[in-house]
Symmetry: C2
DNA sequence: ATGTATGCAAAACATTTGCACCTGG
DNA sequence: CCAGGTGCAAATGTTTTGCATACAT
């Protein structure tokens, strides 16, 4: 039940928050932009403002319910947080997004940060290419 | 001489293009945003429009003279292309940018793309953290 | 000469914010 | 009831574009 997740995250259970969470849980496309979520809300008959969608998604991010991916300088997309860290492969033709985990890369990143005297707070890795369906 | 590089890149040698290239070559900060370049031009007494700076930087990118880094969703910064591929470490406090090369990561990325059926065209890796000067 | 490049102002775009009104606990 | 949430419109910041003028070859 979504309301539990919201309460647990310290967020008041309001209609926009419940609806946005529902959309994110029900969508087949795991990755949605704020605009995508907004359109999905309209389609399901909800009158929720785009500004609210942005606010809610940001709150969800702060609460750890979703993660924000910043695709190459353009807009951001959000995915439900499931606790598993992973990076992304993006198809430059069809915009498909796939996920992967690689321990070797994770370790190397830590080593590099250490070597350079950085206290690593985060990292982002995107591999761009043409997916099997598009070539 | 900059004019040669421009001609070689198939670009007509114009004052704005020469001046932008000069700025990029002379700056100590290897990474500059369009705005940074624009300000530097003004400081050196050149009357070049911001729109032109954007156009010129994009042409330089297409011509392979510079690379564009898309820092986490915000604005872009440009660096002179020297042929050496590398990735970046960013200080979240002072915005310092450092570079690194790691063959292990490069190899793993290729392997992952292959494994997932992607024909890799590019990749971007940013490590965020607090640099030695800020901690 | 003539096809490109530039400057300016306006448009585009994703995102954020101010503020009066509404709502959940 | 009342702090916090929402909707709308306006502001933001970066980048792009239309168009008349200027320039490189």
């Amino acid at each position: 039940m979504e309301s539990q997740d919201l309460r647990k995250a310290g967020l008041k259970v309001t209609l926009p928050r419940v609806k946005v969470l529902e959309i994110l849980e029900k969508t087949k496309q795991r990755h949605m932009s704020a605009e995508d979520v907004y359109k999905a809300l309209l389609e399901s008959g909800e009158e929720i403002g785009l500004a609210t969608v942005y606010r809610v998604l940001t709150q969800f991010e702060d609460a750890g319910l979703v993660s924000r991916l910043s695709i190459d300088g353009g807009h951001a997309v959000f995915e439900l947080e499931d606790g598993s860290h992973h990076d992304h492969l993006l198809c430059v033709k069809c915009n498909r997004i796939e996920e992967f985990v690689d321990e070797v890369i994770e370790q190397r990143q830590k080593a590099i940060a250490l070597e350079k005297g950085f206290d690593m707070t985060d990292h982002s890795l995107y591999i761009y290419g043409i997916c099997r369906h598009c070539q």
